[in-house]
Symmetry: none
Subunit: 227 residues, 4 copies
Amino acid sequence: MSVPAPMPPALLRPSRLSPESDKREHLLAAAARVLVRDGTAGLRIRDVALEAGVSTGVVHYYFGSKDEILVEALRWATRAPIQRFAELRRGGDHLTALAALLEVSLPHPGVLFDEYVLWLEFWSTVSHDASLLPLCEELATAYGNQVAALVNEGTASGAFHPVTDPDTVAVRLIAMVDGLSFRSVVGYSWMPLDRVRDLLCAFACEQLGIEPDALPQVRLDRGEPLQ
Amino acid sequence: MSVPAPMPPALLRPSRLSPESDKREHLLAAAARVLVRDGTAGLRIRDVALEAGVSTGVVHYYFGSKDEILVEALRWATRAPIQRFAELRRGGDHLTALAALLEVSLPHPGVLFDEYVLWLEFWSTVSHDASLLPLCEELATAYGNQVAALVNEGTASGAFHPVTDPDTVAVRLIAMVDGLSFRSVVGYSWMPLDRVRDLLCAFACEQLGIEPDALPQVRLDRGEPLQ
Amino acid sequence: MSVPAPMPPALLRPSRLSPESDKREHLLAAAARVLVRDGTAGLRIRDVALEAGVSTGVVHYYFGSKDEILVEALRWATRAPIQRFAELRRGGDHLTALAALLEVSLPHPGVLFDEYVLWLEFWSTVSHDASLLPLCEELATAYGNQVAALVNEGTASGAFHPVTDPDTVAVRLIAMVDGLSFRSVVGYSWMPLDRVRDLLCAFACEQLGIEPDALPQVRLDRGEPLQ
Amino acid sequence: MSVPAPMPPALLRPSRLSPESDKREHLLAAAARVLVRDGTAGLRIRDVALEAGVSTGVVHYYFGSKDEILVEALRWATRAPIQRFAELRRGGDHLTALAALLEVSLPHPGVLFDEYVLWLEFWSTVSHDASLLPLCEELATAYGNQVAALVNEGTASGAFHPVTDPDTVAVRLIAMVDGLSFRSVVGYSWMPLDRVRDLLCAFACEQLGIEPDALPQVRLDRGEPLQ
DNA sequence: GATGAATGAGAATTCATTCAT
DNA sequence: AATGAATGAATTCTCATTCAT
């Protein structure tokens, strides 16, 4: 079984034919790409403009200041994952939903990897400037609620048999996903993607009382363009 | 039972009476404090000099460039935890060592909190510039080895009864510590320090087959100046 | 006795129903208002367009450059006073004409005040760029001639008995009007409008050999909208 | 009789050998010269730096922003006249003091002319931004007090016989000085320096009840370098 | 060694002007 | 004619780095 590319829209990769609809979003995507590549400290308006294929003036035409586009880009780029998880939960049984959720939580090369990099930037930014904390917390809560709902529903339906109360297990899962994935994203050689997957699946099965073989094999094909 | 302040040396707090011997270290400490406060993106030589109580010229006298002091400061500030863990493991039985290790892994206000902020900066920096990856990986490995050694030794001695192989449990513990602590450091209101501790202790006990009551109560006194 | 509002046309105040006939004048009026508010240094095409309720493109459609609209606006806005004085001299005896002229020379809140602000801009501009000097001098001469003609005619008719030759008195009157009015316009608390009037009337009477009581009491009604 | 150059210090002209004492003042003088030449609207940091013979960074090193140096330059450059008048009043009898005061009130080419240009800038600036009004008013009051004191003392001593109360005459003198001088500064061909002097002396004599021949002939030599 | 004034390259920002629609 | 998005040159401002003292 394989999960479809999580998002059709051109998210973090350049789009040649940007619709006239939203130039602002085009710029945010460009800024997000620059952020992934250079980080908050390395973001320059010139680079955002270059990446978006426009002049620097345009960036200031749509955004008041460098700070504004930086914040907006973080806000914009980190909204995607939540939607993705919500969609995944809709279709299929709880076991399949769990497997899919774990798979799209891995830092696959492409958007998913990039999103982890951006989250690192986001957290790092927030730890020095609390003004973004509310947004950050809101996004994190939305994500946590998705996982908690899945665990709770799966437990109620008899699909999961958590080792302790469902909410605690949900928090553990979230923390474990980050704890493992970030190490992979940073580039630790002893934490390649496959190891993150193995550790994560085994952990989830243990915490949710699932037979390892009962968890459907779900893979995002590497070759599949993630946009 | 209580753990002593982990480190006598002036780590991240200003020291009035810096010995003439090591001005370089004095500057690194100042840089680390500025990094904690302003982040990599906000670090300015002027601020480091101000924090250290010297002129900007001095910073350049001891360090070739801004980049050098930034890297050196990260390197310098992130060495402490490893030493700390090594020391903690030396004295006492495995249960006590575990309890102490967990306690000093929490982002207590003060140095411990600051070290998490710096790790966030470190990871964020490395994710955009792999030149620091070897150092980062080395430090992480040293830390991982400490935990793995403790789990293995405790298992061999019969103090721990891990739910799966000891190395896997060690990795899980490390990932869980970060996954929970970072959320607390970033400022999520639903992840205060005490919740991190509770979740972590319960998790460690479960993974290591320890009766919750058997884990010694270890606290870092709040009043104790962490220097 | 009271002087009618000196000018029916929408001079410096926004006009809702601008005739299609003269868009150019509509833009000049908008530019003049912006000049009064922000000064030459603060004038931006964008603000002129905003004030006129059009796009920036329109401004460039009617005027070649920022410099052109600035100069045209000064030229346009400073023509009004001359016409005004000419009209005032036509009706009535010399004493009444003098009283009316003095009254409309005061920086009453509204157009008259604004015109002084623009003159200040004009002079300040000319003192750095002599290319506007001919226009400036021409306007000033026209104004001076009006005053001189009034003094001369009044003297010839026996209404005035100047303390020295009529032309000198005319120059003195002009200089005194500015010297007092500018201080009021700038905002000196010790030179409110009423003091300017008192000083000016007394001075004019003294210089022209008029009994103070002989000068008709002329007032611009405050309630009267100056447009 | 001739008045010595009012000010030994290098005021508005470039000084090659600036004392180490006050670089800030050196920059203000440069800014004032640029203001005289180009006006508020034309002032550029680059030009100030060029005029001062330093790099643009220096200007920002001593002044926070363009606005700050502009305001400081106006403040600095307009202090001089007051001191000058105070000094002139000290020596000699009232008639001589009056003659000297009138002479240094004329817009002689050099500093005196430049000061009028700056006052025009000052007034124009204040008319759009009242934040400078207190300073402006303070300076104007100090100047007014000097003139009023001279008129009052001269009247008390019997040297002057004003046509009306001394304070009114003082205000008239001040207003006349500006009203005539500004026209000359702006460049009106019919108001050259000599005509300003003639009109002013005649007016002062008339208002103060002095025989025209009784006013000492005081001249600032054109050739004399005003610095 | 230490200072901090000075430099100047480079980044952010502004805004007149253009031009496709 | 009108629009307003886009341009890009010009300007302000920042800050690592240098260097005379």
